[in-house]
């Protein structure tokens, strides 16, 4: 069988299974919602200053949504960066680029396989976090109907569906973070620098959003797109923030991905 992108993809997933950082990120994705539910249990009330914060004691389905809001600050960018920032840089660290570049795969195929693997990891982390939050939240506060942002009551099964669609919409800015992580991984050739750098990019963009005089930029900041899923929780559904998230995130992600691709394709493998 001729090797291709899917060969690389499968082996990247295998390699992830053997690396500690994979479990560090996924562990955080599991632990954070559990800790959040435990804190809610003892506090008997949720954070009132965020959407759905005041509902978490009435419906467990509000808990994954609140975690999505809090996770946007650094948790999900960090979990995403743990793999995206490492996936090329670790090859430099191990000196293995020369090993895989001298087999029968084109560099472009290797790049695509790695990109798919980093994206898969991010998707798994978000869905895992959301699922744990749904289960833990439902145990704590019950599998109850949820009040939408428009004030209407959404049945529990419908709310569950909306939670999962929200997780998918949340993946749009996460995909942009993956691309930035891949770019930094490719450029810096240093895992720690790429992981921290990706997180810093995410934080700096959030800081720009709160600087006085720059509020006009808010709709076009990557950090804002982490709230796009809220359009799904309105009646009727507001698609505008979701559509905007798609193109704004594409503006952040695609140039980064293209630059990462070119760097990876053209680089000299002089070390290792």
């Amino acid at each position: 069988m001729n090797p291709g992108v899917m060969t690389v993809y499968r082996w990247e997933l295998t390699k992830l299974r053997y690396q500690k950082r994979t479990y560090l990120g996924l562990g955080a994705a599991v632990l954070v919602p559990i800790l959040f539910v435990v804190a809610t249990h003892f506090r008997h009330r949720g954070p009132d200053d965020v959407p759905f914060g005041s509902y978490i004691t009435r419906s467990g389905l509000a808990i994954p949504l609140v975690i999505l809001l809090f996770g946007a600050v650094w948790m999900f960018p960090l979990i995403t960066a743990l793999v995206a920032g490492d996936i090329f840089a670790s090859e430099d660290h191990n000196g293995t680029l020369k090993t895989i570049f001298t087999r029968s795969l084109e560099r472009g195929q290797i790049f695509m396989g790695k990109t798919l693997a980093a994206s898969t990891y991010a998707i798994v982390a978000i869905l895992l976090c959301g699922t744990v939050a749904v289960i833990a939240g439902s145990i704590q506060s019950g599998f109850n109907p949820l009040q939408s942002l428009s004030g209407t009551i959404v049945s529990a099964p419908k709310a569950l569906e909306l939670v999962y669609v929200s997780l998918l919409v949340y993946l749009i800015p996460i995909a942009a973070i993956v691309c930035i992580g891949l770019l930094l991984s490719s450029i810096t050739r240093n895992s720690a620098a790429a992981v921290v750098g990706t997180l810093m990019v995410s934080l700096v963009i959030q800081l720009i959003g709160i600087l006085p005089g720059l509020t006009g930029l808010q709709p076009y900041l990557l950090s804002t797109q982490f709230s796009a899923w809220q359009g799904l929780l309105r009646t009727p559904i507001d698609w505008a923030p979701i559509v905007r998230a798609a193109w704004v995130c594409a503006l952040y992600g695609l140039p980064a991905l293209a630059a990462a691709y070119l760097v990876f394709l053209r680089r000299d493998v002089a070390g290792g």
Binding site: W11, K15, G95, K98, T99, F101, T102, D268, G272
Partner: protein
């Protein structure tokens, strides 16, 4: 019809290869040809540009100028040029968190075809079958070198490029590596072996390129290099200072060196006879003058440290096939 047009292209053909990093020229116009069946030594001191040349041959770095062809194909254009080619540059590298077998499975998957069916045999060839389930992170340097050979064998190569394969190995490991390379060559594999271990090269290679400061100063057969080198003599006299001056002034005498209370030089037989007469006339009486066996090491140092003495070259009539630069 030109018969050359029908001949298959050689395993390696390098022309005018140059690599510059800013002001530093790592490789300065290398030309070499490795023919089918050669075990070709690529010799040079550390920093001479051997590894950089090998990286360009494997398509890992882009040449500043010049061309590389592997079986007539350009490795910079497509990885297809590496079909039938395998090897490693510097130490072979693997994923330390995977075991040896798993690393080979990954590389075999990246090779495609029937490479996965060769894993067991490759592990047995390099005598790592019993350690294949251990994580590579726990392997010794020698084990990694052998795993590197195993990884190369998965591709069932017709051409093997090995960069310092014996470096860091203990004497037994070095011997085993030489035996392995010789065995692979006997099976019909063409091998390019970069090394600074001259005994290793002398033992396993039939042809060499000697590189100095990024340029090749000799390319050809080791036997021809030795034949062309003239004979090395060791001289002891009653007045070494005067003898040294006479040697340096005497035509036909080259590579004159003083080593403690002895003088060494390279000359052919008539030149040595004329020198003995000149020494007597100068008052430096000869205590002993004995021819020495020239080793590849002697020739290597004369080419890479000295002035690239022209005596250390093959005869003129052989310079069409084996060139001296």
């Amino acid at each position: 019809m030109n018969p050359d047009a029908l001949a298959p292209p050689p395993p390696i053909e390098v022309r005018g290869l140059v690599k510059r990093y800013g002001d530093l020229t790592a490789v300065a116009g290398v030309d070499l040809t490795v023919d089918v069946g050669d075990v070709y030594g690529y010799l040079g001191p550390n920093g001479a540009g051997k590894t950089t040349s090998l990286r360009m041959m494997l398509g890992l770095i882009r040449p500043t100028a010049g061309t590389v062809r592997l079986f007539g194909r350009d490795p910079m254009l497509s990885v297809d040029a590496l079909n039938g080619v395998a090897g490693f540059v510097e130490a072979p590298t693997f994923y330390p968190y995977l075991n040896g077998r798993r690393n080979l499975e990954l590389l075999a998957a990246f090779d495609g075809g029937d490479a996965p069916t060769r894993i067991d045999r490759a592990l047995e060839t390099v005598e790592l079958a019993d350690r294949a389930r251990d994580r590579v992170g726990g392997y010794s340097h020698g084990m990694r070198q052998r795993l590197g050979i195993a990884a190369a064998l998965l591709r069932n190569p017709k051409l093997l490029l090995l960069d310092e394969p014996a470096t860091g190995l203990d004497p037994a490991g070095m011997r085993d590596m030489r035996v392995l390379i010789r065995r692979l060559a006997d099976q019909g594999m063409t091998v390019l072996l970069s090394s600074h271990l001259l005994t290793e090269v002398e033992e396993v290679c039939n042809r060499v390129a000697i590189v100095r400061s990024g340029s090749i100063v000799y390319e050809g057969e080791i036997a021809a290099l030795k034949r062309g080198a003239g004979t090395s003599y060791r001289l002891e006299t009653t007045d070494d200072e005067r003898a040294l001056a006479v040697c340096r002034a005497q035509p036909g005498i080259s590579d004159v060196r003083r080593q403690h209370d002895k003088i060494s030089f390279v000359a052919d037989e008539p030149a040595a006879a004329e020198l003995s007469q000149a020494l007597v006339e100068a008052g430096a009486l000869i205590r002993a003058m004995a021819p020495q066996t020239v080793t590849l090491e002697d020739l290597f140092f004369s080419l890479t440290e000295g002035s690239g003495d022209p005596r250390a070259t093959p005869p003129a009539q052989e310079q069409t096939a084996e060139s001296v630069r």
